[in-house]
């Protein structure tokens, strides 16, 4: 059964990719 640790690692994964998506916007604006 998934526990709190799983929630934390899923949250870390999603957060990283959200930051990477934000980095897409940053790289478009860094001119």
């Amino acid at each position: 059964v998934p526990d709190m640790n799983d929630l934390i690692y899923v949250a870390i994964s999603v957060a990283f990719f959200a930051i990477a998506a934000a980095y897409v916007i940053f790289c478009g604006k860094v001119r």
Binding site: D6, Y9, V10, V14, V24, G28, R31
Partner: protein, 604 residues
């Protein structure tokens, strides 16, 4: 190095690599063109079209660089969560004859990050941790998808360079689908059958228990009836003799995984000793072909580059620069290992032909040095010898190879797109030296392009050095070490270089999964892998998009030529200079000082 057989093998390797570069490059041209034709169309075409229909993909529509990047990120996130849950709950899934338990959360996180980033760093031993289902569905599937993603990114960058006044760089979904169906899967089917012909296993049997020829007595901690370790009243373990007369021999679907592990420059072994294991690398021929398969696609992609930009000499110049650094690395590693360790030699315990510690006797000095150089030039990370046991300078070669950004042929796709970053930088430096606006294949290299290049290079440098510094000054960082002094430092530096570079090999003295369950190593290494992959790809795709939109400038007498020896030498100089300026201080504290201390009689 006075070994004619080894020189012959080296010559054969180079000849074979040259032979496959053009035909495979031409084939990839067709694969990476959404309207390309291949002889596999009758078989793969219907599957490709069905995939598009199921997934709602319109192959006729291309994406701008942002759409391409976001598709890649979304695809990777889903893949990471998919693998995380397979690993966590493998004990509830099929194909688990050894009844392997689910992985602890931090190890599942580390491994999922490792395989979606094409790193294949392994904080676990495959045969003692993974069910067959996890190996095949959780891990091997990413060997295909992460390799396809790398090639797709390289193709997008090459399109950006080749096109002008364009808004799009390709369709990520189409690229990944076509690379998988037309290149990776068919080649791996043939490759896996070849490996089986060499003696590699491919089955779903439970592990075999065999009786050993020579039983031996080991001292182990006594256990009670419930299997718990027994200690004395003052906490010391109670030691008893145990006669060991059986051996557990792993089984499993190995050939299907090893084929893509090498071709896709993934590197994660089915078993812990990777390509040093007789099942995972049964013969000298399997060793040779495995080494060749690592460089096959990266080498062919340089030909693809030349074709796409309509300047084949540029493609060969990039190939030549890669080859020069590769050959130099092989010779340094081979020489260092052949020279051996003077301390061992003084004690009379060293093998006559050099440093054989940590090497598979079947492969010997040269094939270990060659394999180590190839696997770290590329972002493969498979090993047939333990890099931790190399001499200091022998170990410096794989470490520095990774720290160049793995652009010496490099990972599938990753090597070419990494090298193109250095090409842009080299052109920029050349333009500054002669006082002209830098141009690359008819396009002006402007401030924005160079900013993006620097974002790529800074992600590599800051992540490797930052995490290394952090681990060096913390208790959790030092707890993972099995060696002290400069060798221990090299183990830390290698771990983060390997992770950020998405290589995956290790200075195996490091224990990333300590017995106390401390998750620091697993979490920081996973973060390093994710940053090393995606924080480099995003600015790189921005570069692709920006280059695609530029107008072409007609060539003039002052145009900087990106072919020939001068350009190749400038490119090599740029790669080495950036690598040395960034990492030489750290290398001086690790393998370089260790070399001098070894000469003075000290080992770590």
């Amino acid at each position: 190095m006075n070994n004619q057989n080894a020189w012959l093998q080296f010559a054969l390797y180079i000849a074979a690599l040259l032979l496959i570069t053009k035909p495979l490059g031409l084939y990839l041209m067709q694969v990476l063109d959404a309207r390309g034709r291949t002889w596999l169309d009758p078989v793969a075409g219907p599957i490709e079209r069905l995939t598009y229909r199921i997934c709602g993909i319109n192959p006729g529509i291309e994406q701008g660089w942002k759409g391409y990047a976001l598709s890649m990120l979304g695809f990777s996130l889903v893949g990471m969560l998919f693998t995380y849950f397979i690993l966590r709950f493998q004990d509830h899934l099929p194909l688990n004859p050894q009844a392997m338990a689910g992985l602890p959360p931090h190890l599942a996180f580390n491994t999922a990050a490792s395989f979606i980033t094409n790193t294949n760093w392994q904080s676990y031993g495959g045969e003692s941790t993974m069910s067959y289902f996890s190996q095949m569905v959780g891990l091997a599937i990413h060997n295909f998808t992460s390799a396809a993603t790398g090639i797709a990114i390289a193709a997008a960058l090459v399109r950006g360079i080749a096109r002008h006044s364009a808004r799009t760089v390709g369709n990520f979904w189409v690229d990944v689908t076509r690379i998988t169906y037309y290149a990776l899967v068919p080649i791996c089917v043939v490759f896996a059958l070849f490996l089986v012909s060499q003696g590699m296993i491919q089955n779903f049997k439970p592990y075999t228990t065999a009786r050993t020829f020579e039983p031996y007595t080991a001292q182990v901690q006594k256990t009670d009836a419930a299997g718990n370790p027994v200690s004395t009243a003052d906490g010391k373990p109670v030691i008893v003799d145990q006669v060991v007369d059986t051996q557990t021999i792993p089984q499993g679907p190995m050939a299907s995984q090893v084929a893509i592990k090498m071709l896709g420059t993934n590197g994660g072994g089915f078993v812990n000793t990777n390509a040093a294991h007789p099942f995972e690398n049964p013969t000298p021929l399997s060793n040779f072909i495995q080494m060749l398969s690592i460089f096959a696609i990266p080498s062919a992609l340089t030909y693809y580059l030349g074709r796409m930009v309509k300047n084949q000499r540029h493609g060969w110049a990039v190939w030549g620069a890669m080859f020069a650094m590769f050959a130099a690395g092989v010779l340094v590693a081979w020489h260092s290992e052949a020279a051996g360790n003077p301390i061992h030699q003084g004690m009379g315990v060293a093998a006559a032909d050099g440093n054989m510690e940590g090497k598979e006797v079947r492969f010997g000095i040269f094939n270990s040095a060659l394999f180590a150089t190839i696997t770290t030039d590329a972002s493969c990370g498979a090993v047939n010898a333990m890099h931790d046991s190399f001499t200091p300078l022998g170990g410096l070669v794989p470490l520095f190879n990774i720290e160049t950004g793995e652009v010496i042929f490099g990972g599938v796709g990753a090597g070419l797109y990494g090298m193109l970053v250095f090409v842009v930088l080299a052109v920029f430096i050349a333009g500054l030296m002669v006082g002209r606006t830098p141009e690359y294949l008819g396009k002006k290299i402007e401030a924005y392009d160079v900013k993006l290049v620097m974002l790529v290079l800074m992600a590599l440098a800051t992540t490797i050095l930052g995490f290394t510094a952090w681990a060096c000054v913390t208790a959790w960082g030092q707890a993972g070490l099995n060696n002290s002094g400069p060798h221990g430092f090299s183990e830390i530096l290698y771990a983060y270089s390997s992770s950020v570079g998405n290589n995956g090999s290790a200075f195996a003295g490091l224990t990333a999964f300590p017995s106390d369950g401390n998750p620091h190593w697993d979490i920081t290494l996973a973060t390093a892998m994710l940053v090393g992959r995606f924080m480099m790809i995003v600015p790189l795709l921005a570069l692709a998009g920006n280059l695609a939109g530029k107008k072409l400038i007609p060539a003039s007498v002052g145009t900087f030529k990106v072919e020939g020896l001068t350009f190749a030498a400038l490119l090599v100089g740029t790669v080495l200079l950036v690598g040395a300026l960034t990492f030489l201080p750290a290398l001086a504290m690790g393998p370089i000082v260790e070399h001098f201390l070894m000469r003075a009689g000290t080992l770590f």
